[in-house]
Structures are given as C-alpha cells and as structure tokens.
Symmetry: C2
Subunit: 343 residues, 2 copies
Amino acid sequence: MSSPKQKKQEIFPQLRQDPISKTWVVITPKRRARPEEFDQSRIVKRKIVAKKEDCPFCEGNEAKFGNPTSLLEYPRKGGKWSVRVIPNKYPAFLKNQKSKVKSQKLYISQPAIGSHEVIITYHHEDHTPKQPLWLVDKMLRAYQERILNLKKDQKIKYVHIFVNEGDEAGASIGHPHSQLVALTLIPEMIQKELDGVEQYYKRFKKCIFCDIIKREQDQKERVILENKNFITIAPYFSRFPFEMWILPKEHQTSYEEMDETRRRSLAEILKYSLLKLDKGLGEPAYNHFIHTSPVNVKSQQYHWHVEIFPRIDIWAGVELGIGVVFNTMVPKVAAEFLRKVKI
Amino acid sequence: MSSPKQKKQEIFPQLRQDPISKTWVVITPKRRARPEEFDQSRIVKRKIVAKKEDCPFCEGNEAKFGNPTSLLEYPRKGGKWSVRVIPNKYPAFLKNQKSKVKSQKLYISQPAIGSHEVIITYHHEDHTPKQPLWLVDKMLRAYQERILNLKKDQKIKYVHIFVNEGDEAGASIGHPHSQLVALTLIPEMIQKELDGVEQYYKRFKKCIFCDIIKREQDQKERVILENKNFITIAPYFSRFPFEMWILPKEHQTSYEEMDETRRRSLAEILKYSLLKLDKGLGEPAYNHFIHTSPVNVKSQQYHWHVEIFPRIDIWAGVELGIGVVFNTMVPKVAAEFLRKVKI
C-alpha cells in the first residue's frame, strides 16, 4: 500500500521541455531505468596520447609543431608554463579577413571572422579531475583573461569556451586542453536561452536559472554536488545520460565577472563533478562548455553556467532529423548514482 | 592571369547560413579541401550482423524475439514477406497513455504519446544501395501507408521516418531497417523550416526549395545526381561532409501524396545516391530521413525532401554547445567527388 506522501509513479516514456531553450526531450529509460543496469560495456574509456615527444601541446615541443607564439602564458615553478593559450593551427575563425557579408537572394555567406584558440595545461596526461586545484583555477582564469581581451574588439559578440575529451566527444589530441571560439554573431543556442530567460522574466519577474536552483535545492533529488558558491545538478530536461550543469548560486550574468574566491570554488566543483563522472562511469568521453552572456551587445538577463555532456549514446535520426532528443537515463536516477560515487 | 569570367577565390573558413532553418555553418576545410586528401582512415566501414539465427528482424524469427504482430506486411514470392512494419520493442512513443500535460511553473512534462515503429526489409545484409528497385519502392510505399494510417488519429501532428546505418550513426541492429516516430507536436526543426519557408514566400511569393533547385540546376556545381522527377544536391550550407539532399523537382508539400510513378523514381535516386556514398567513401555510417509537412494542422507551404548525413566527423563542443556547425568539407568539392563516383 502506498503511503499518502508517496509520489505518483512517473510514466515513461515521457516528454519534457527545457523551459529555457524550449527543446523537447523524450526520457525513454527502456531497460535501463537504474544506472546499475546501465550497459557500461557501451562506454569506451578515454585514450591518452602515449608519447610526449610526439605531442604538439607538451612543453619543449612549442616550436617543433609550429605553434611558438603564445597569446597568454602563466609561469610554473620548475618548468616553463602551467597554462598556455595559443592560436588554433587550423582555425575555424580568423582575425584578419575582410568581413563582407555576401548576401544573395538565396545564400548568405561571410568570412568566418573571430578567433579560435587552444588553452593548454602543462601535464601530458592529467586532465581536470586529476589536476591540482591551483592548476584548474589557473585554467579558469585564462578563460576569463581571454574573454576580457577579446571583447575589446567591438565586432566580437560571443566567446565560446569548450572542452572535448575522448574520441567519442570529437577530440583529436589527447593532451588536456580547452578551446575557445570568438564569433561576430550571437549563436543560435545562446539566443534561444536569452529569449527563454526574457520570457520567464517578463512573466514572473525572476531569473529562471535562479528559480531552477531554488527548486532543485528544495527537492534535492537531482542535486549531485554542492559547495559554497556552486551547485551541480542533473537537469530535469537532460539531453544526455548523466548530463550535469554547474550553476553559480548567486545570480551572475557573465563568466568573466567572477571574482577570485568564486573562481576557486568553481575549480573545486568542476574537478569533483568530473571526477564523479570518471569514477562512476569509467572515464567516458565528454564535452563541457560555458554558457555565458554575449559581449558588446546591450546587456540582457542571463545566468552563466557550465554544461557537461557525457557522450555515451549517439545522436541519430531523431536528434539530427527533427531536433527532438532521446535520453535513455532518468535524470534523478543519474543524480542519485553520481551523488553516491565516492571521490 | 585570371580570365574576367573566372570567379573570385572563395575565402575559408566561411560562415554560411541555411536560408530555411537559419542555422549557421562554418565551412572550414583545413587540410582537406579536396576529397582525395580527405582522411579516409577516419571512416569506419559499417558492420553487418553475422548470424541470421540471432537476428530479431529475420524471417522466421518473428516470434522468437517477441515481435509477432505486424502493423503492415507485403508478401514476397518464395518467402513470407518483403517488407514488414512492427511496433518498436522499446518505444519512445506509446499509443495508450493518458495524455495529460503536467505543466508546473518551471517544468513541463507529458506522457510521450504517439507511435514508434520499425520498417524491415527481408534481406539480412543487403541495405538500400544493394536492394532491387522493387524492394526499395515497397519500403517507400510502406512509409506512405503508415503515414496515411497514423494521421487518421487527429492527435498526431508529425510523422518522422528515419534510417540509422552503422554504429557511428546510432544503429543497434545491423539488419536493414527504418524507423518511424509519430508525435503529437510539431518538432523544432520542422517548425523552423516551416517558418523559413513562410518568410521566403512572403517576400518573394515563391517556394524556397523550388528556388534552390532552380539555382542548383543552373549552376550545376553542387548537383550529384538527377533523374526525371528528383535531384540530389550537396546543399550550399551542408552541415556534414558529403551531406546530400534529394528533392522532388515539382513542388509537393507532403511525402505521402507522391504517386506511384514518382515513388519509383525516388526509389531509383535514393538507391543510387546511397550507392555513390558507399562506393566513394567505403560504406560509411549515415543517417537519412524524410522532412515532410505536419499532419492534422492547417496546411502550410512546404516542400518535402530527403536528407542524408554521413557520420564521418563527430559533433563536439561547438555544435552541441552553441548550435553552430563546423563542416570540414566544401560542399561543391564533395559534390564533384560524388558526381564522379561510378555506379
């Protein structure tokens, strides 16, 4: 007999809508409602590049692989640098092109103006979950410094910082690194979130991200980790199995505005959130990135945060064809599993 | 010396906007501007399931794997059936759930109402490029019959038909099959295209797809294949290397309206377009699907078509993070390569 307090059984498959971007997700657990039933054989452990001498990102190889110029370098005791930012050797965005929009009746094109950079931490194998906190913090500081520098150019409208870890997440080099692209337009997904934030604000006079944080703190079932300034949750409308969002608890619009104390707090929660993923799921491939406010446009409401997407399932004909996303893992079950992983 | 007629050299990386959905693509050829320089080692040949006796989709195994009920079956000379449609064993959409939208202030959910079906062709190994034309035609006819049947239910708003071929494209069973999902909502990408078509129509009083076809027929450089009723092109704003679109030359809003003659013409161009991909690139994984008009909503302008996405590159932190897509292959170069593949 069910007690009156017991919640009604959720019915699956279930359609859930991301209240910010409005994307529809189908939570479709199949046989894998419980993470312990989750077919871990599907998870490929991330590879590491074996040889330091062939690594284009290792200290000492700067000239060998044709990337001698640093955009930013932090020194390291007993070495050359701890964090180094260089231009991407095969950039998708370039600084010096004539920015001319070629708008024909049908097809619109323009040179891809902006910047494409690589942020490298010095150790050849140790990525964020294994790095000391001071190094993670320095990497996060380099992100801030680059955004502050790039937004001096009034043409730049958005700076996107992301990490691809493992082959299944599109990484081509194993040495731990992040990437940055600076664009002259506000990307589609950011615009959708800005619109969602604005709509919610008009209706409730509140930040939707702040309300999500409050709701998750009250309910607790989708909270994975928490420290003084940040909270890691499995979003109710997760697109990926074991998806995590790291949100600053206080409302803050832009990543680069974060002070030193809060940045150290972020370094800690980022390291340990990723460590839970690695320990719990056997080092899967993943992408993570920062969603923050555009730059050089009139300020809009936003609440910057980090999103982490483990790449266990492959997007197929539904996701790519119509933009509806299938997720085989119930977010609160994923949260419960990750919460219990010892770190 | 360049002749006055010679076109100006295109500058890469280049931002291109899909004029229908408005998605931004960065054409960023890196070192692989020419397909012969395209790193074919990155392409994994699709696997085939070896044992017929373990195949849930093979004739004779219908009861063994718990899918004895057919929604549709076409007979076959010398066998039981040529094409068979069954409910998906692990459906993401179900017919019989109470359709109640649970709309709270923040989170919106509803049971995933609809249908999730599998369309199976009888041969265990031969997929579309190797199938006889009559069988491809029967498969395309089954798609039509299922749409016509499903749209009798007024709740259904869209029927999506798609194929996942190969592990990298999210396939879990090797036996050739298509899938169908019927939804009670108009999916995001379809709505975006409908909006794009409407905008263009308001401005130019023409169908944007018809204008794209005309433009590509005039220019010829992105045409891959053509027959009486259809044309295969590499879209100017391709999201994937070697992406192909198959479009009916005459304006037609809905796939299910296509007559028998035109369906045979589609069977032919679909088979040979996929054969070019297989022969040219060594049987890569791919997704393909139909984009067609919603059902049971007041008719809107649309021009149905097929999209084919080879899964050679992996979407990473830019595509998943901000919705801007990097494509390392220049569409007209891909078209030239595929045009020349002998079939």
